[in-house]
Symmetry: C2
Subunit: 279 residues, 2 copies
């Protein structure tokens, strides 16, 4: 496995792979790799011949007061995970490499980024789309892999890629969960033992939603109320949103019909936890 710190090194390796007719897959990450990331890497290895994992804690997607400084950066462990998974190339740039020019250029996806997490994290998605475009331009992958756990991110990136005619496919892989249902996330590390136990109620609320929907309930208000009842039992939790939205436009819907996304964001201790299920 090659580890590259410069854009030139990445371009050289990918170019050689492409010359050999290989299909290039990219898994963009902020490191602190867990089984969720591994599932993306495994999918990439299944579908591609040359798999690149980028590890970059992108400063421009963190707001003031967010966890940029304390975001975990276990580089050695991450590289071992990549090597064991069969990754071909890890791109692990410094901020100086990724932002060699002071970025005056920003990619904004309107509407989709103003809803759900966009409300409390106003500059977040602009940072995500811009850094992903940079990574796509550096690696030029045929496919890039994102997790369903960050559903809004995946929808925004897909829209950006379509609107800008980016020459790649975006694949979204299912959320990986702990045995008690909590979505695996690098930010789960911020939870105390007690909070970690409480956090399982997030998935409990999503399961409740699924059950109600299966039982024929279509009224979004009724479902949200039942979910809130569960979420309010999370000791120390602060609900940011519980929303039933159209899974393409992310606009709130009153009734569950067609493709709908049920999404939750909760502050719990030092963590901000998000989760969702497509219904």
């Amino acid at each position: 496995m090659e580890v590259a710190g410069t854009i030139e090194a990445v371009r050289t390796s990918v170019k050689a792979a492409r010359r050999n007719g290989k299909r290039i897959g990219l898994v963009p990450t902020m490191g602190a790799l867990h089984v969720g990331h591994v599932s993306l890497i495994e999918r990439a290895i299944e579908q591609c011949d040359f798999v690149v994992v980028s590890i970059f804690v992108n400063p421009t997607q963190f707001g003031p007061g967010e966890d940029f400084a304390k975001y975990p950066r276990p580089v050695e462990a991450d590289l071992e995970i990549c090597a064991n998974a069969g990754v071909d190339l890890v791109f692990n740039p410094s901020p100086e490499v990724m932002y060699a020019t002071e970025s005056l250029t920003w990619i904004r996806v309107e509407r989709l980024t103003e809803l759900l997490c966009g409300v409390s994290r106003p500059g977040h998605f602009r940072g995500v789309t811009t850094v992903c475009a940079k990574l796509f331009n550096i690696v030029l992958p045929d496919v890039a892999y994102f997790g369903q756990k960050d559903a809004q991110q995946a929808i925004v990136i897909k829209r950006m890629a379509a609107d800008l005619n980016m020459p790649l496919e975006i694949v979204v892989c299912p959320t990986v969960r702990e045995p008690d249902g909590l979505a695996v996330s690098s930010r789960n590390k911020y939870l105390s033992e007690q909070q970690r136990k409480e956090a399982a109620k997030i998935y409990k609320s999503l399961r409740k939603c699924k059950e109600m929907s299966k039982a024929g309930v279509t009224d979004a208000k009724e479902i949200i109320a039942a979910m809130r009842e569960i979420l309010e039992q999370i000791a120390g939790g602060e609900i940011e949103y519980v929303s039933v939205v159209d899974s393409e436009t992310l606009e709130k819907v009153d009734e569950i019909k067609g493709k709908v996304l049920v999404a939750v964001a909760i502050k719990l201790g030092l963590a901000r936890l998000i989760d969702n299920i497509p219904v």
Copy 2:
């Protein structure tokens, strides 16, 4: 010469050329091709093995009340010019092809787009950068060619490409002028015979600037005053700006030293004319 109306056709042809080791050049235009465009095409043919010209009057870079509807679209003549010049592929998409998805995604280059022409044309550069990014993603050229006449546009595109790590080189070619010095432009067609004669004073003012600079004048105010004196003689003309700016940041400078751009915009009849010289 191939004429392609779809993105798929362009990608197929360019892919084949690239597989044969050819260097791909792109000249993005809005059609109404003139000797200025031809000079870009000639440079592309000199430096590349496969030259693509895009012809697309991009609606998103025109403001309300601007000349989108009446912008000239002499398609047959344009294709003949391309064929005679030795172009390999013309991409001539409809708005429905270029904007198949309702564009929620916009690329903005801060600061640089808020100065000079950005003041009177607030959404213009956002439309230019976004459509250029789309064209770059469709064609994936090794080099793209722009004219010095639209100096701000070239500077903005260069910055976008650098900030987003776009895998291409931006080449800026010198302004082509009529015998009396007027910069060649598709919009010169909007001028009456009398206005056309008057318009030569724009270049006269730029020459004056160059003379003064050669004679050792470095005070921007003094130079601007002398230029305005000439420009004010344009019958029916309305000066939008006469500016001496840093040729990278486009910020106004008080003194000519280092690389400076002297830029002018004038409304004359139905036309808005711009011109500049690097000093």
